[in-house]
Amino acid sequence: MSEVAVLNLIIVSLTSSILGVPLVLKRLSLLGAGLSHSALGGVAIAYLMGLSPLPTTLIYTLLMGILIYTLSSRGKVSGDAVIAVLFTSGVALGILVLGDHSHSEAHLSEAILGEPFKVSWYDLILSIFLLLLTLLFILRLRNHLTLLCFNEDLAVSYGIRVDMVAYSLLILSSLSIVLAVKVVGVLLASALFVIPAMTSLFLVSGFGRAVLLSSAVSLICTSAGVIITERTGFQPGGVVVFALLLMFMASFLFNQVRSRLQ
């Protein structure tokens, strides 16, 4: 892997792991899977209209994210149902457009498995920018985010603009998911959000500590994944997610043993 690709993978994983904590706590774990699959629709539209894939997919996924949250938070349709509908619509659009022509099958395969080696400076700069935005968001709105995840009614009663905080989280997550799709593919993107977050939630108390540990878990597993990839030639996405899974299982077992001993 080139230095740019390695750096990009680490930064994208880090951003995803930070955003994963509030997403899991807000019971939006499935959002990652839903948005990553719906991103396939964005890739299909870009191919169909001859547009640049990354910006088109970014805009498409962002719109899907806003649609999911707006419909579910207004109580029009249940959250998991909206995610399921948009999830399958994105996949259907992707298969319809990309799966039917031999020359477009490469796009479908790249979208599903990711293209971690084809990373440009432009991608890296975008990833760094998103990481900085995410850090700013978490540091500035940490208290608001804690209360939003705790109880929305309570947050409203304390004058917190919950829609503003929730949409900010959603926009950052949608953008981050598209970058994660590019690196590890549609199938594995949500793992970068959910697994490090859950791993940290088993181990620590405190919202801030959970975010820090989630980032650390992600950093360790991604670095380990890169080293293993270099030595074995496996796909980095699969290796990183496998490393995350091992950490998750270890923290789950540790949590079980600790609970029994207490």
């Binding site: 899991v24 706590l25 019971r27 940490r142 208290n143 608001h144 804690t146 209360l147 995840c149 705790f150 109880n151 009614d153 309570l154 409203v156 009663s157 304390y158 004058g159 859950m198 940290s200 939630l201 088993f202 620590v204 108390s205 405190g206 919202f207 801030g208 500590r209 959970a210």
Partner: protein, 217 residues
């Protein structure tokens, strides 16, 4: 007595259905302990949420002098929700929250996760969060629900002390006896206001609304 909360002709419906509350008006003075009783579905929680600014009423308006602290009946959070008592209380009130520590004797659970607390401790923390903004009006939904005798007594003593210090306290509850025994003034709510006034005169309305008489202890 200085009025700290005034609500005029509040009406609200959900999804355009029948009104959950209709033409409900009330006012609260500084230091008043006010109780709202009513059967299930009588609109108690909706009224509380409107007063707490969580729901915008379809009709009517609410005026409040100062801040409102809202204490929900229960909070359901994710099993591994990591926030500690300290994080939650300071997230609401910042450094000023440290005063609440002494008031509510929260020192021993300060660093514990909210999810690991007992029902009574959770209720105290929710009250602590509301108090950390130094409210002029404290709204409590079912303050004694699921509490043992010890915590009931503790919360009651605390609420009375709070009202003595000038905070207006509004409680809604199924617990007719608790409200009629401890409130300065009560409202019997069943979508509309069935009665408002002294607890000693609420018996007739309570019987009409709940279908049973209540002996105030």
């Amino acid at each position: 007595m200085e009025k700290v909360l005034r609500a005029e002709k509040l009406t609200h419906t959900y999804s355009g259905g029948d009104p959950v509350i209709e033409d409900v008006s009330l006012s609260l003075s500084r230091g008043e302990l006010y109780g709202v009783v009513g059967p299930n579905g009588s609109g108690k929680t909706t009224l509380l949420k409107i007063l707490g600014g969580i729901i915008k009423p379809l009709k009517g308006h609410v005026e409040i002098r100062g801040k409102v602290g809202y204490v929900p009946q229960q909070i359901f959070v994710e099993e591994h929700f990591p926030a500690t008592v300290k994080e939650l209380i300071t997230a609401v009130g910042g450094r000023a929250s440290y005063d609440v520590l002494a008031q509510l004797h929260l020192h021993t659970i300060w660093d514990k996760r909210f999810v690991d607390l007992s029902g009574g401790q959770k209720k105290i923390v929710l009250i602590g969060m509301a108090l950390s903004i130094k409210p002029s009006v404290l709204l409590l939904d079912e303050p004694t629900a699921e509490l043992d005798v010890h915590f009931r007594k503790h919360i009651l003593v605390f609420l009375k002390e709070l009202s003595r210090q000038g905070t207006a306290v509004l409680m809604v509850s199924h617990d007719i006896n608790f409200i009629l025994t401890n409130a300065d003034r009560v409202m019997v709510l069943c979508r509309k206001v069935e009665f408002e006034g002294s607890p000693t005169k609420a018996g007739e309305a309570v019987k009409r609304v709940f279908g049973m008489g209540v002996t105030v202890e």
